[in-house]
């Protein structure tokens, strides 16, 4: 074992927050290519120098025969080093006779030697933000299948704030630690765990893979991110008043009630009301739409409303929560019956309620496909896709996890693909967002501004 690069043993019997921290340590070391020394839980320990000076330093337990703690202060010999500070436990959601949940403030502290990571790039810029972006992506879009929920609260690059709990001097004149090529940053987060952590993964995707019951799945913490391998940069935020995206007219969108189809998208609804539409080819009671009625998902296939009512409307039993991001999907088998409609939330098949079931006439119309309307929705939407086949559960899970339809059948049958702000162009007052299928040139915004392109959900 080298003193400079010690082997940090992995605990075999970790429990509770320690299990979560060890998993996070391993996860970060795997995800961040520049993190050469990803260490685990650090403690504030007093160290007395030979001159009797006392310092509080971050120490990581080594578990050797000497039961040593290792000084995990920043070190320019290490390409990238991280330590994890854990604060006090706060019990939340306590119910007698049930598992409770615990919340911990957890800080991830990074130091890195930029020169060893990319000396060429360092000639022109301080690329600390690149490293922070790597961490951010790992902790939001890439983290999945964990037995804990993690939320980023604050980030800082100020040296004194990064090491606020410790007596680590800047030592600029002596060691150059706070100057380039060294860089330092910190992510303050909250980790939530169930009392029996790590026995049951808490996110819903992993719950499905482990065949948990619907009750258990409903109890799982809903992650505030979508899909495991999925990654893009931008979503579009719709105000639920008059903002929407409109597709050019194309015969490929003329879905009939006897056609099967699948629609997937990622949504974060800000407020619920009556009907609001994610995507529709619908106006005045004629056509099809996928959206929400109240907080529940709805698919409607309609010939006419009013006295001539001829419609199929089905909604979910389960509700979405405002401000939470979901992957939502609906499949339809072309039978014009309620049983032909399946909804999925974060890859989980839902139970349904039939609202109307008397559809027997055509639903085709001359209206354009609209994303975010025409009954406008107050939501952020990302990665809207539609296929002219009915997906299986496995294909829905694939779209949820990977975010990219890798199956050739899926690609051939895709009729709508809009990755929202990614590769979008903003003209004088209009966004043009490309259609990734190539069926049309793109989706043009109505009444949307440059600032309506927001970070990906």
């Amino acid at each position: 074992m080298s003193v400079q690069n010690p082997t940090i043993p992995g605990a075999l019997e970790a429990k509770g927050i320690d299990a979560a921290i060890i998993d996070l340590q391993t996860f970060l070391s795997f995800e961040l290519t520049w993190l050469s020394n990803g260490m685990g839980r650090a403690y504030k320990r007093k160290k007395v120098r030979p001159n009797q000076a006392v310092q509080f330093l971050p120490m990581v337990y080594l578990g050797t025969s000497k039961y040593d703690f290792f000084d995990a202060s920043p070190d320019n010999d290490k390409e990238g080093q991280s330590i994890i500070l854990v604060g006090n436990r706060t019990p939340i959601d306590f119910q007698r006779g049930h598992y409770g949940y615990s919340e911990y403030p957890v800080s991830l502290i990074f130091s890195a030697n930029l020169e060893t990571i990319n000396p060429i790039l360092l000639l022109t810029e301080d690329f600390t933000e690149h490293l922070m972006d790597n961490v951010r992506q790992a902790l939001t879009r890439d983290i999945l299948g964990k037995s804990y929920d993690l939320e980023i609260l604050e980030e800082t690059r100020d040296f004194d704030e990064v090491y606020a709990e410790f007596d680590i001097n800047t030592d600029a004149g002596k060691t150059n630690k706070p100057l380039l090529p060294m860089t330092y940053f910190r992510f303050d987060t909250t980790i939530t765990i169930k009392e029996d952590c790590p026995s049951i993964p808490l996110d819903r995707c992993t719950a499905i893979q482990n065949n948990l019951t619907q009750d258990d799945i409903d109890n799982c913490i809903i992650p505030n991110y979508c899909g495991g391998g999925f990654s893009n940069t931008y979503s579009m935020a719709f105000d639920g008043v008059n903002e929407e995206l409109e597709a050019p007219t194309n015969a490929i969108y003329d879905i009939e009630r006897t056609d099967s189809f699948t629609i997937c998208c990622r949504v974060n609804v800000a407020s619920f009301a009556a009907v609001q539409q994610f995507i529709a080819k619908h106006l005045g009671g004629r056509g099809w739409y996928f959206g929400v009625v109240g907080a529940r998902l709805i698919l409607a296939l309609e010939h006419a409303g009013g006295a001539m009512s001829n419609k199929l409307q089905v909604r979910t039993v389960a509700s979405l929560t405002a401000g939470v991001s979901y992957h939502v999907a609906v499949t339809y088998d072309g039978t014009s019956t309620p049983g032909g409609i399946k909804f999925y939330i974060d890859g989980v098949l839902q139970s349904n309620v039939t609202l109307l079931n008397n559809l027997s006439m055509t639903i085709t119309n001359v209206f354009p496909v609209i994303i975010g309307g025409p009954i406008n929705i107050d939501a952020t939407i990302n990665v809207v896709r539609m296929w002219d086949i009915e997906f299986t559960q496995a294909q829905i899970t694939s779209d949820y996890n990977a975010g990219t339809p890798t199956d050739p059948i899926q690609q051939v049958n895709q009729i709508i693909g809009c990755d929202m702000g990614d590769n979008g162009l903003f003209g004088v007052d209009t966004w043009v967002l490309p259609d990734t299928t190539g069926n049309v040139t793109g989706f043009q915004s109505n009444n949307m501004e440059f600032l309506d392109r927001v970070a990906a959900i």
């Binding site: 105000d239 008059n242 009907v275 009512s309 009444n447």
Partner: protein, 80 residues
């Protein structure tokens, strides 16, 4: 974060074309009441100018206008 300011304007307002120039998006793409007599327009985020063309019209914030668009004059989707 800067918010939009919303207004419900009369389509027969003699200044309607000028109002359309102020709003985000073209006048023809704005949300119109079911009877076609009124439209909802909004000013760009952060625009705090008091325009004479909008004098006499009530100003709404996002949550206020969201309640209005689900009133019968603006909304008619039948469900169930």
């Amino acid at each position: 974060m800067d918010d939009n300011r919303y207004y419900i304007v009369n389509m027969n307002d003699p200044n309607i074309l000028a109002i359309g120039q102020l709003s985000v998006g073209a006048l023809g793409s704005q949300r119109v009441s079911l009877d076609g007599t009124q439209a909802i327009i909004k000013l760009p985020k952060g625009d705090e100018t008091q325009y004479p063309e909008l004098e006499g019209y009530e100003q709404y914030n996002h949550s206020q206008i969201r309640e209005i668009v689900f009133e019968p004059e603006w909304y008619n989707e039948e469900v169930g």
